[in-house]
Each structure stands twice: as structure tokens, then as C-alpha cells.
Amino acid sequence: MSEKNNLLVKLENGGIFKSSKWLVRGVSLEINKGQIVTLIGPNGSGKTTTAKMVLDILSPDEGVMKSFTKKVAYVPQKISIDWTLPLRVIDFMQLTSKLSQNEIIESLSLTGVEQLLYNQIHNLSGGEFQRVLIARAVAKKPEFLVLDEPVQGVDFNGEIALYDLIKKISSTLNCGILLISHDLHFVMSATDHVICLNGHICCSGTPSAVVKDSAYIELFGEHRSKTLAYYQHDHDHSHETDGSVVN
């Protein structure tokens, strides 16, 4: 397959201007099939805004956004569903696509919540709801998946399992993933390309390159960044500067 066919989204020099300031500016990134790109950065650094730009929810006030896929799934950071809307997990799973009962159960069991099928969304705990959100996105069999802090509120064991699942999805579905995560451990061990954001791109590249970058160390502190270096994964392949894999 040619390089062109693998490209899912491409953002060039994107920026969002709101309430007389730039939330983010000068962000360029591209995501290919089978690739996991991670956004990290402090609170208010524009991670979610960048994700919304890539998803075409916000159109950039500056720069160009191009999308080459329609099979998109999104796990937003926060969803609050009004009590006035009676909604069971099974209804929520079919929110934007038609799925058979089998597909729904299969997907829910991937995140370990198939027993909640007929529960009201309002009665789920934070972690359970997060698992349902991920299951819903996976059930769509997307080409491009955006996860905004997908494991918030999930217990420790569940967290590891969900990150494993995310890794698995990217290879089995050959799907491109944009991940926003605070879990630097996962970011460093499973991501192909890391973008460190603070209103603009501070630094970006492969995880091993990013941890050595002075901008990264400044943002996350020397101690923490050193600790994380131990978690680095053994590369069985190498990367080009844009993060694409070279075997």
C-alpha cells in the first residue's frame, strides 16, 4: 500500500482562536493507519482542542485540516447525560451506528462490561461508563479512533487491560489512534509518536527522542522524565522523523 493510502488525517499549522487568545497554534500532525500518536501536556495546553480540530468538530482559525476517512470513532473526555433522557447501555452503543446484539455484546465484553447491557447509563460508575464509552467506539470498527483520557476513573488493573486493548485495536483493525493521556508509562511504551503540547508543539518525535528533549524535561521535570526513561520499550523496528515505521 502506498504511503498516501495510509494517511488518515493531516493537520497543517492548525490554530484555534477563542475569547481573544490562541488556545493552540501552529500544530501540525498526521496520523496513518496502524499508528498510535499521543498528545501529552499540562492542563490547558490545548490537547482536547487539538483533538477536536483533528475530528472536524472545530474548524481551525488558522492552518489546514484534511481528513481522508469517514469511519471515525471518538471517546470524549467528559460526557454528562441528562437524567431526563432514559438511556440504557444498549441504546448508547447504537448511538451513531446500527449494530447487531452480538456485535454489541462482543464489544462490551472486550472492556469487561457485557453484564451491563440493560443498565441505565445514569447508574453506571465512572469507570464502568468509561469502559462502555471505549466499547462503543471499538464496536464501530473505526479507521481512525480518538481517545481523550480514556481510562480516567478506571481501577488500576482495568487500566492496564484497557491500554492493552487499545494497543491491540490499532493492530487488529489497522486503525490510526490519536490518544490523549496522562499515563506517561503507556505513552512511552506503546506509542509510535509523541507530541508534547503546551499551546504549541514543544517537541515531538518517537518516545525515546522526546524524553531526551529539553522542552519535555522542562515540562515534566527532570526526575520524572528520568524515571520514565526506564520504561522505554525495546524497539523491534525503527522510525522515521515523522513517526512512520521502518522495518
Partner: protein, 267 residues
């Protein structure tokens, strides 16, 4: 059989209840009750204009409601005033303009009470045709945009990200709401339409577990309210609109009982 004014009212009223049920659910889910109020207040202006220029009342009401809805969207972009303030501004200024215009039309005998609270005697064969044909069109469009509108109701960003085009369905929904007000103003009256949108849907919420169930029950409660309300108004010689709303309210109170029992059991 349509010779009997009561049968005509019944047929028209049931038609309205069927349209209002699904739309009312969305009004509740999206917290648009005050928006519905604003549209129906502006309906009065629509009626006055219809008399002034001898237009069809429903058409004129629909146009004015749609214009007010567009004005609201425009105003929201221009000022930082909260949504409810803007709604209040539009609701009362259009109502006031409507009432001022009525003053100029002194040569026409105006049934203001009928306009505000609905008039059972006024329903004609044409009204019935309008309610059923118009209602069919409204429900058809709603069915068509259902998935997009519903996903946007649950979460706008998610809906937009996954290509459901929520901005389009939001806009269309606003027009449908204006349409349903135009259809029902003669029966229910400008002041009480929002009640018919809200109360059956609120009643249904108390006893439903899924969105589809709530839509079905809201429609059913609406139909029961219309039938029981019309018979009661005939019996007691009261205005039809308010009587229908009172019956709907009684049903709402009854629907609280299972909720109460459930609450007790959980303790």
C-alpha cells in the same frame, strides 16, 4: 361524521397529540421548554399578521416562529447575554408587538381568549387536513433526522466527530418545533402549547427505561389527555386547551406514584 364539531376537535386533537409526543421528548431532553414558550408567544404576532394581510394563520405562525428561532441563533452569536435572557427578550417583545398590532386592527372582531387558550368550536375540516398532513410531514422529517438529532442530544461533540452532522439536524428540529406550534395554536392556544409538549413527555419519563419507550408513552399520554380533556370540556363547558392541559397534569401526578413506590422499595 365530520359535521359534528366535537368529532372534528377530537380528530384534530389526536393528530396533534401524535406529533407532539416525539417532539416533546426532545424538548425535555434538550432543555428547550423555555424555547418552546418563546416560539409560542411569538405565535400571537404570527396570528395578528395573518389577519392584517389575510394570510393563512398556520403559515404565518410558522414563518414568525421560524424567524424568531433564527433571530435567537443570531443574537446568541452577537451578545454574551445568557440564553434564557435572550429567550425572555424575544418572547415578551414579540408578544407585545402582537398585542400592539391587535390594537390597530379594531375593525376585526378578535377572539383573544380563543387565540391564547384554544377554541374547540373553531376547528374546521381544513384544520383537520392541515394537522394530519402537516403532522405526517413533521414526523417524516423527524424520522429522517432521528439518529443525528438523538446523538447530538446525547453529546454534540461525539455526534459531530462521527459525521452525524448535528448542526443540520439541530436547525431542522427548530423548524419542526415552529411547525408543530403553527399546527396546534388553534386547538390549544398560544399560551398552552408548551404545556402539551412538556407534560406528556415528562409523564412518560417517570415510567420509561429507554428513549423509544418514552416517545411511545409520551404520545399515548398525549392522546389520552386530548380525548379525556375534550370530553371533560364538553361536559363542564370549559375551554378546551386548558382542560386538556389539566388532564395531562393529573396524568403526570399519577405517573409519580410508581416512581415513589420504587424509591420506597430501594430504601
Amino acid at each position: 361524521m365530520f359535521d359534528d364539531f366535537f368529532i372534528r376537535a377530537l380528530v384534530a386533537g389526536i393528530g396533534i397529540a401524535i406529533v407532539v409526543g416525539p417532539l416533546g421528548c426532545f424538548v425535555i431532553w434538550r432543555r428547550l421548554s423555555y424555547f418552546g414558550d418563546t416560539l409560542s408567544h411569538s405565535a400571537l404576532l404570527g396570528v395578528t399578521l395573518a389577519y392584517s394581510f389575510s394570510l393563512n394563520i398556520s403559515l404565518s405562525v410558522f414563518i414568525i416562529s421560524a424567524v424568531v428561532a433564527l433571530l435567537l441563533i443570531n443574537l446568541q452569536k452577537r451578545t454574551k447575554l445568557a440564553g434564557d435572557s435572550l429567550l425572555g427578550l424575544l418572547a415578551h417583545s414579540t408578544l407585545a408587538i402582537g398585542l400592539v398590532l391587535i390594537g390597530f386592527l379594531s375593525y376585526i372582531r378578535f377572539d383573544l381568549m380563543g387565540l391564547l387558550f384554544g377554541d374547540i368550536l373553531a376547528v374546521t375540516i381544513e384544520d383537520i387536513a392541515l394537522v394530519w398532513v402537516g403532522g405526517f410531514v413533521i414526523l417524516g422529517i423527524l424520522y429522517f433526522i432521528w439518529k443525528s438529532l438523538f446523538s447530538a442530544t446525547v453529546n454534540y461533540d461525539l455526534s459531530a466527530a462521527e459525521g452525524m452532522k448535528p448542526e443540520v439536524s439541530n436547525f431542522i428540529f427548530t423548524l419542526l418545533l415552529a411547525g408543530v406550534i403553527a399546527l396546534s395554536i388553534k386547538m390549544i392556544g398560544a399560551l398552552l402549547i408548551t404545556g402539551l409538549l412538556l407534560i406528556p413527555a415528562a409523564t412518560a419519563r417517570n415510567i420509561s427505561n429507554s428513549p423509544n419507550q418514552m416517545v411511545f408513552l409520551a404520545t399515548l399520554v398525549g392522546i389520552i389527555s386530548v380525548i379525556a380533556g375534550l370530553f371533560t370540556s364538553l361536559e363542564l363547558n370549559t375551554s378546551s386547551g386548558p382542560t386538556i392541559i389539566v388532564v395531562a397534569l393529573i396524568l403526570f401526578i399519577v405517573s409519580l406514584v410508581p416512581l415513589e413506590i420504587k424509591g420506597q422499595l430501594q430504601k
